[in-house]
Amino acid sequence: MKNREQYIESLKNLKTQVYYFGKRIDNIIEHPSFKPHINSAALTYELANMPEYEELLTATSHLTGKKINRFTHIHQSTEDLVKKVKALRLLGQKTGACFQRCVGWDALNATYTVTYEMDQKYGTDYHKRFLEYLKFVQENDLMIAGSMTDPKGDRSLRPSQQADPDLYVHIVEKNDKGIVVRGAKAHQTGIINSHEMIVMPTIAMGEEDKDYAVVFAIPVDTEGVIHIFGRQTNDSRRFEEGEIDKGNYKYGIVGGEALTIFNDVFVPWERVFMCGEFDYAGLLVERFASYHRQNYGGCKTGVSDVIIGSAVAIAEYNGVAKASHVRDKIVEMVHLAETLYCGSIACSAEGFPTPSGAYFVNPLLANTVKQNVTRYIYEICRLCHDIAGGIIATLPSEADLKNEEIGPYIEKYLKGVADVSTEDRIRILRLIENMTGGTALVESMHGAGSPQAQRIMILRQANLNQKKKLAEDLAGIKKEH
C-alpha cells in the first residue's frame, strides 16, 4: 500500500495535461487550486496506514490474499459493503470534503461484475483482462477516476443520433492492437490527481449505439487526453494570502472536477473491457450508479457531521446554544443526517452476491438514499445558515482582520461570547460559508446522478403490481391472478 508521501510523489511522474484559467498547469502538486483536493485524496492513503483506521480502510485482496487499500477492493460480503459506508463517513468527517476515490472504486466493482456476466453470455475474455488490470491497481494502490458522464448534447436524442457524434465517447477505429476513442466526459471528480481512469457508458444503449458501448481503462496522462479543470464558488480565494477566507482551507470543497477530452486516444486491447456489447451498457450503468448512490449516506453524513459541529460551535460562540429553537434545529440536522446514514447502511446490509461472487447493494434502497441526499443536505445547510446568521454572507476579509488600522474594529465589533476570540468566530463562519453553499450544494443534487435518474430506477424496482395486489386483497377485490 502507498502512504501519503508515496501517493503525492507518484503524481509527479505523470505528464497529465491540465488546463485551468486559460493556462496549461505543469505542476499540479504545488498549485493552490489543486492542493486541497490532493490533500483530501492523500488522506485515503495516510489513514489506511494507521492502526486506528485500518479496519475500515484496508481489506484483504480476494485475488492475492494481500493487504490492500479498501479503495481498490472488490466487495466480498455485506460486511464489506457496510464497511465501505463507514469508511466514507470517517473520511467525510476528517476532510469535510470529497476525497474522490469512491468513484473509481465503484467503477472497479461495476466493471468486475459486468465483465463476468458478459463473458458468460458471449464467451469473451473481458473479465480475465479485467482481473489482470485489477491486480495491477491493487498492487500499486492506484487512484482511479470513474469516468461515466458524457456531455450528452441534445438529451432527446440517442448517442448515435446526435448532430455531433463525439458528444458521447465512442470507438472511431479498431485494429489488431486495440481501439481508438473520441469524445469527452464531464464532471470528472479527482481526475487531475488520479493515476488512471475507467471509462464507462453513461446510459443504456441500443444496437444503433454499438460504437458507444465501450469500457476501458487508461492512465490519465495518455496521449490525446486533455483535462480542463472546472471553477468552484470562491475558487480565486485560493490565490489569496492567509487561510481563513478559504473556509476548509486544507481540503477544499467537493472533489475538484474537470472536463476530460479524448482526442483519438489509443487503448490497447488488454485495457478494453466492453467493445460493442450494447445490451450490457445498461447493466453497467445500473451497477455503477447503485454502488455510487450507496456512498452518499456515508460521505455526506460525514460531511454533515462537520456542518452540524460548526452549527453547534457558532451557536455557542454567539451565546445562543441554550435557546430551545436552536437546539431543536440541531436535533433536526442530526435526524436528517442519520436518516441518510440509515439508508446507506440498509442498502449495504441487504446486499447480495452477483454471478461473479462480488456483492452488490440493494439498488432500490441505494437510489432512495441518493434521492434523500438531493433534499436533506439542502435542508441541513439551510438550518446551519439559520443558526449561523446573516454574518456568513457579509463578513469582512482576513486581510481586513489582520490590518493594523481597521483590524481592531473587526476584533471589537464582531466579538461574540467573551471566551471565544473574534478570529475563531470568523473561522467557523467561513467554514460554514464554504461548506454549505454554491458548488458544495450542487454536488449533493447532481453527484452520482440527478434526482430524476434515481426516480427512474426507484420506479423500475418499486414492484407496484405487488403493492396493488396487496391493496386489492385487503379490499376484498376478487381477481384471478
Partner: protein, 99 residues
C-alpha cells in the same frame, strides 16, 4: 517492558474521545510496566477498541486470545463505565488485583 495488543474498529463515528482515552490508557499501562502494540500476535492480552455501542469489531474474531477486553464506546464488556474511568477499568480487567 511487556506489551498489550490493541485493535481499533476504524472509528467512523466514535461516541468517546478516542484521543483522550488513548492518552489515559497509555499512561496507566506504562505505570504498570506495560506498553501498547498494534502487532497483536506478540502481545499479552488484547484490547479491542470500538468507538461506539455498535461494536463492529467482535471478540469472536480474536478467539486465540485468552485475555481480551472489549470497549464499545463508554462500556467495557457490555458494562457501562464513566468515560474518564475507562483506562483504569481496562487495567483492572487485564491484570486483576495486580494493579
Amino acid at each position: 517492558m511487556k506489551i498489550v495488543g490493541i485493535k481499533y474498529c476504524g472509528e467512523c463515528n466514535p461516541e468517546i474521545d478516542i484521543g483522550d482515552f488513548m492518552k489515559r490508557l497509555k499512561l496507566r499501562l506504562n505505570s504498570l510496566g506495560f506498553t501498547l502494540t498494534t502487532d497483536i500476535d506478540k502481545s499479552y492480552g488484547l484490547i479491542i477498541v470500538n468507538g461506539c455501542r455498535v461494536g463492529c469489531l467482535k471478540r469472536e474474531k480474536f478467539a486465540n486470545f485468552e485475555n481480551i477486553v472489549v470497549i464499545n464506546g463508554a462500556s467495557i464488556d457490555s458494562v457501562i463505565v464513566d468515560e474518564s474511568k475507562l483506562a483504569e477499568k481496562i487495567a483492572e480487567k487485564l491484570f486483576g488485583g495486580n494493579c
